[in-house]
Amino acid sequence: MKPPLLAALLTISLCAADLTPAQQKLNVDSFEYAWKTIRDKMWDPMPAGVDWKQIHDELLPKVQSAKSMGEARAAMRDMISRLKMTHFNIIPSDVYETVATKAKGDGEPGFDLRILDGEAVVTTVEANSPAAKAGVKPGWRVVSVEGKDLEPVLKKLSETYKETTTRELIMARALLAGLSGPRGSQAKAEFVDGAGKRVPLEVELVAPRGMESKFGHLPTQHVWFESKKVSGSGYIAFNMFMDAGRIAPQFSDSVQSCMGAKPCDGIIIDLRGNPGGLGAMSMGMAGWFVSKPNQRLGVMKTKENELKFMVFPRAETFDGPVVLLTDALTGSTSEIFAGGLKDLGRARVVGTRSAGAALPSMFERLPNGDGFQYAIANYISEGGKPLEGIGVIPDEEVKLTRQALLEGRDPVLEAALAYIRKQKDQK
């Protein structure tokens, strides 16, 4: 199996080739379209203090005189970079195509990974998955995919996105995309185990964990929910804020199982790797932990209006300690939820900084074939700070390490349990 996105990343070419007049026109049309869209959709008439018209007049000649797609794209990216915001991007047509192609194959090998100290490290392996059957263990490094060494890829991505909070998110997603493909096909990857031995494996790609969920024109998602008791505390994890009709009741049942005559010492909600989803779900879930009325998680500001993310308290709420676990792949609605509950003083955030990618954004294809991503709203958490480009800063920073994973430990979860124990002892 050829890993599609990875291949595209490796083959992105900056070589210059003369453009035809028709291509030049398409680039100008694309520039104008992107410029006008941002002008019309941007909630702030002077984003990042810049004069948008002046930027148009400065950069249009560069697009007009561009000798290659690379030059034209660079001018458009220059325009977008002036906003100093994530969720605005010009995506090269080959990468854009490849991302779209990826949706045709949703098979996965059954493990998750993170970028830890610049290396791709397996963090979880699903029980009974092909990866588990092949012997893959948490803490193993992934060093090559389809015979291609990951080190230069990771270096390139790391350098490209070094200024953003989304660097690890982009890197991890690119690698996971490279390891995906049609169900039933094989992913060839090489690992380094705990003893430092290289382990080449071919792992079958199977349906992702969870149940299929469809929401509008979005690709079919696999949504899972997990709940258990750990050392007297409730532990809840779900992979995205989607499929509200199924996930919200399970969340409610899990919280309620921690209430009553024998309440849990605390509740831990693991948002690591959770990219968000339906923003409104954050309000309903927060209602289990906030008893005071008229509280809000934050405000989303669009060009037309402001939307307050209100919390609707349940008839009975869980009043014990709540700990939210975050990492660099905690994004969007997960950040709204974590940032808001933190700002309200209702939850402690443990882990590493979230992705800082809370803006709702749209993807469109430009006339020249490139992809165009733009945000349509800004979000300010209840504490008064935007989440975009900053993320949710944990109250207690705890990093996952390869060594801990190899030892079968989860230091982030351990820190959360320690905090809850301390709260209980102080009672």
């Binding site: 969920s213 469809k214 929401f215 509008g216 024109h217 989607m242 499929d243 509200a244 009709g245 199924r246 919200a248 009741p249 339906l278 409104a280 779900m281 309000m283 309903g284 879930m285 209602g287 669009t302 037309e304 209006n305 402001e306 939307l307 307050k308 993310f309 209100m310 609707f312 349940r314 008839a315 009975e316 349509i376």
Partner: protein
């Protein structure tokens, strides 16, 4: 040929301009005249008063987004209402009014009892045969002009409630039918401007009902199609009772 065409256009423009001038001078009908006409063309006061319950089945779509759903609505002459919509990927959203209590359950936001001006808006909107009682429901009404809505000249009638924001209703000059409503909906998340277009009027048991309602809000277009409307059906006991989670909130 070109000249003739130009003349025709010029003439047409002149005639239109003179009509415009005439229209500007034309006394606008009083709002009660316009609303009474609407009642008349949709079936008449007696037809409305005859009905004591209402049941509708509907389908819903976020236009261009691929989000679809289906639902039902029950209402009775005691102003009890329950609307249930099941949206793909979201689940079942219920909104109800029972003995003056306005409530909502939504898998995304959870259960809540609606209060304040949002409650007032919903009670006014859901009054059974509310059209017949508009004088009670609105503090004032005023015809403010004529505006073209989707190719149809309409009287603009501004309805002002005792509290909250006014709404503007557009009634076709020709047919007398309500074509559009422009309003600001109060929600806990903020005030949201909404345009509601009422289309495809069809007769159900002597009453003309718009079977396609298009709501435009926050960049979304939500099309609701009434698949069936029935009057005076027997509504099972307990239909309007709020669910347990709402009762718990009320008891809090």
């Amino acid at each position: 040929m070109k000249r003739n065409r130009f003349l025709r256009i010029t003439l047409a423009t002149a005639i239109a301009a003179s009509f415009s001038l005439f229209a500007a001078d034309e006394a606008l009908p009083k709002p009660e005249t316009i609303i009474d006409k609407y009642i008349e063309v949709t079936g008449g006061r007696k037809a409305y008063e005859k009905h004591k319950t209402e049941q509708a089945t509907m389908s819903m779509e976020f236009v261009g987004k691929g989000i679809k759903g289906a639902g039902t609505r029950y209402a009775d002459a005691n102003n009890n209402v329950i609307e249930s919509i099941t949206l793909e990927g979201v689940g079942k959203i219920d909104q109800g009014i029972f003995n003056g209590v306005v409530w909502e359950t939504n898998p995304m936001t959870g259960p809540r009892v609606v209060t304040g001006s949002e409650k007032a808006d919903r009670l006014r909107d859901s009054r059974f045969n509310g059209l017949l009682y508009w004088r009670e429901l609105w503090k004032s009404a005023e015809t403010t002009g004529v505006e073209n809505v989707e190719g149809e000249d309409c009287y603009k009638v501004v309805m002002t409630p005792a509290a909250g924001q006014p709404e503007t209703n557009f009634y076709s000059k020709k047919s007398g039918l309500l074509i559009k409503r422009a309003r600001v909906v109060t929600t806990p998340m903020g005030e949201i401007p909404v345009e509601v277009f009422t289309k495809d009027y069809k007769e159900f048991d002597t009453l003309m009902v718009p079977t396609r309602v298009l709501q435009k809000m926050m960049g979304n277009e939500i099309a609701v199609t009434a698949d069936a409307v029935k009057f005076d059906v027997e509504i099972p006991a307990g239909t309007f009772e709020p669910p347990a989670e709402i009762k718990k909130l009320l008891a809090k």
